[in-house]
């Protein structure tokens, strides 16, 4: 039995089946709960993809919302254009392709951001990624085809429970396999000590860029899901605060621990719903949480997954 639990491919299958079954019951589901659960799925994809960049490879990216926005805009523009020329039934088939194209363009953006960033370390990298995130936002604000400051609205509501969780499961699977493979050991080597890794014959450049590209791809998918869930997007949605919210999930979950990050994503998406009474203090609580975590428990709140040495220098 434990052998079954240890095989990632089997687990992926179980997750997909569970997603499909739950999805079948989704139509009976209360709209509100369904909406929040989809939000959770999207958050999981974002957190796991950022975790690959921040946690596993140790590069600090503050511009994740930028990749998300690329995926959101590209997929939305595709479905909006398709909506004009297709009937409703044909349109449903466009959803997945639109998401994928969005993800791929986001991956391209990841490549463009990743390449110049490789020479920079730590704090500089953080600021540069923040800068790229802002530049992407400013660009969308000025492109009329993307709606400019008004953004896009009337996006067909095609994000369902089933697809969100299937994609989430795939994201977790891909990132997890990547990290646990021999290739993936390279990520951790780069994280732990770049100079040592390169003297061992690994090319840190390649790993860092790969992390960015894959992380950006999934962020783009999450963005596409978001756009077709909320039906309207504009440049203000994907600002630094959005990037930071995902960063908080990764930090809370313990950088590098996939399980912890998933749990953190769930909790941080649900919490605001329960805490509506104290909504005005939410950001203050987040900020205090971050400071507290960094000082008292930098390895994050959760200890799931593979045991790892805490970050040393």
């Amino acid at each position: 039995m434990s052998r079954i639990l240890k095989d990632p491919r089997l687990l992926l299958l179980i997750a997909i089946v569970a997603a499909v079954i739950t999805g079948l019951g989704a139509d009976q589901m209360n709209l509100y709960y369904r909406g929040v659960i989809i939000d959770i799925g999207i958050a999981i994809i974002l957190a796991v993809s950022l975790n690959l960049i921040n946690g596993h490879t140790g590069q600090f990216s503050l511009g994740h919302a930028g990749f998300m926005s690329v995926g959101a805009y590209v997929s939305a523009m595709i479905t909006l254009a398709a909506q004009k020329s297709m009937g409703a039934d044909a349109l449903a088939w466009m959803f997945l392709p639109a998401l994928l194209v969005g993800g791929l363009v986001a991956a391209l953006a990841g490549l463009l951001v990743g390449i110049p960033s490789l020479r920079l370390r730590g704090d500089y990298l953080a600021i540069v990624t923040l800068g790229f995130g802002e530049i992407i936002r400013v660009i969308f604000q000025n492109v009329e085809a993307a709606g400019g400051a008004s953004g896009l609205s009337g996006i067909p509501r095609m994000t369902g429970l089933t697809w969100t969780f299937i994609l989430a499961a795939i994201a977790v699977y891909v990132v997890g396999c990547l990290v646990n493979s021999t290739y993936g050991r390279g990520f951790i080597a780069v994280h732990d000590d770049e100079v040592a890794a390169s003297s061992m014959g690994l090319n840190p450049t390649r790993y860092k860029v790969t992390a960015f590209v894959i992380g950006a791809f999934f962020a783009g998918i999450a963005g596409g899901l978001f756009a077709h869930h909320k039906t309207t997007i504009n440049p203000q949605v994907f600002d630094f605060m959005k990037s930071f919210e995902v960063v908080v999930m990764v930090i809370l979950g313990g950088m590098g621990r996939t399980g912890g990050v998933i749990l953190a994503a769930i909790i941080l998406t649900l919490a605001p719903e329960f805490l509506r009474a104290v909504a005005e203090y939410r950001m203050i609580i987040y900020a205090l949480l971050i400071i507290f975590l960094m000082i008292a428990r930098p390895q994050g709140l959760f200890h799931f997954g593979r045991k790892r040495k805490p970050l040393t220098h």
Partner: protein
């Protein structure tokens, strides 16, 4: 990685089970009305204003006996000026709290997010102050009690031509605000149609502080006036800096200017300039004076346009419920759509077939540190 996917599957199923227990609450003794607004965050000032107006209105209505013999219960939720929140909130209000109608929002982008949900659920939604034409285009259950950007832009263009009598105007837009860009677009259309000339079009980013660069360029092209369709926070600084670089031509803008804060921050620099809005605080009609008095008594400050619109949206809904004799979606919708010659605080208006309010705009001028009524422009 092993336990993670399992975790995923477990949670997915858990929620599947949990959610089947969700149901509409409500014992029928009150009429539930939902409101979503930005009570915190960047647009807090507008959100709080419209909420206060709405709250005051329902308080008065309930004191007078309620509607259809029942009291109205206002369920307000804060969307923190964030995108992504209105969807969750409106879903919650409709499916979990069982409201019969939705009031909100001031910002068009957030109204656009919520509207499709209300439309699909066949729950009428009335926006107090969203001016983007697209909002009511979402569907026939979506209404608004304010005029739309094309109208306001046209009003200001006509004002420039007929009252200010200027032929050359520069436009300074807030690039981050779709309201500002929309207003600028319609102004330009109407102004140039009447052989006006736009000398320059420049942008700034909302909450920028330095506008000297743009103002200097504007000054260089020697226009007769500058159209600034932005929000009062930026307009105050623009006015001050315009004065500093010696730009002494008239400045005019839209309802985003309306706030006491504009007078406080800009002081003398804003003296003599103009803007359009929904109603004039100097209006001596009984409705306006009693509204202002009631608002001052409850909240200790003078109401602004958002508060007045929030107030009107609540009354429009209440009237419609009375006329329909029921809170059933389709019948209520029809009643709201039939709103004609409604005497609101923001003027007398009807809802047209596009479900937008047809009403006059008031042009105000700042004189002696106060907003003074100049003229009304009818549609």
């Amino acid at each position: 990685m092993k336990p993670e996917s399992l975790l995923l599957a477990t949670f997915a199923s858990l929620f599947g089970i949990l959610s089947l227990t969700g149901c509409k609450s409500g014992d029928g003794s009150t009429i539930k009305v939902g409101e979503f607004a930005s009570l915190t965050g960047k647009e807090k000032t507008f959100g709080m204003s419209s909420h206060e107006g709405t709250e005051l209105a329902f308080e008065e209505i309930n004191k007078a006996g309620g509607v259809l013999g029942k009291q109205i219960e206002l369920l307000t939720e804060d969307n923190q000026s964030k995108a992504g929140e209105p969807a969750n909130i409106v879903n919650k209000l409709i499916s979990r709290d069982g409201v019969v109608a939705i009031l909100g929002e001031v910002a068009s982008s957030r109204s656009l997010e919520a509207a499709p949900i209300a439309q699909e659920a066949k729950i009428p939604m009335i926006s107090p102050a969203s001016t983007n034409p697209k909002v009511t285009e979402v569907g026939d259950y979506i209404f608004r009690v304010c005029f739309i950007d094309p109208f306001q832009g046209t009003v200001m263009a006509n004002f420039a031509i007929n009252t200010l009598k200027v032929k050359k105007v520069a436009i300074l837009t807030d690039a981050k605000s779709d309201y500002s860009k929309g207003l600028a677009k319609y102004f330009k259309e109407q102004f140039t149609k009447n052989s006006g000339v736009i000398t320059s079009e420049l942008d700034y980013n909302g909450s920028d502080k330095d506008f000297k660069a743009q103002l200097t360029t504007i000054k260089g092209a020697a226009p007769d006036a500058v159209f600034i369709p932005g929000y009062y926070t930026d307009v105050a600084l623009i006015a001050i800096q315009a004065q500093e670089i010696g730009l002494s031509i008239p400045l005019f803008g839209g309802d985003g200017w309306e706030s006491e804060n504009l007078l406080q921050v800009a002081g003398k620099a804003i003296e003599g300039h103009y803007f359009s809005t929904h109603c004039s605080p100097e209006d001596t009609s009984l409705k306006m004076t009693s509204f202002v008095a009631a608002y001052k008594a409850k909240y200790n400050k003078t109401p602004d346009a958002m508060a007045a619109l929030g107030y009107d949206s609540a009354y429009v809904l209440a009237e419609a419920i009375k006329r329909a004799g029921t809170t059933e979606g389709p019948k209520l919708r029809d009643a709201i759509a039939a709103t004609k010659d409604f005497e609101g605080v923001t003027g007398k208006f009807s809802l047209n077939e596009k479900r937008d309010a047809v009403k006059s705009a008031a042009i105000l001028q700042i004189k002696d540190g106060k907003f003074k009524f100049l003229e009304t422009i009818a549609p």
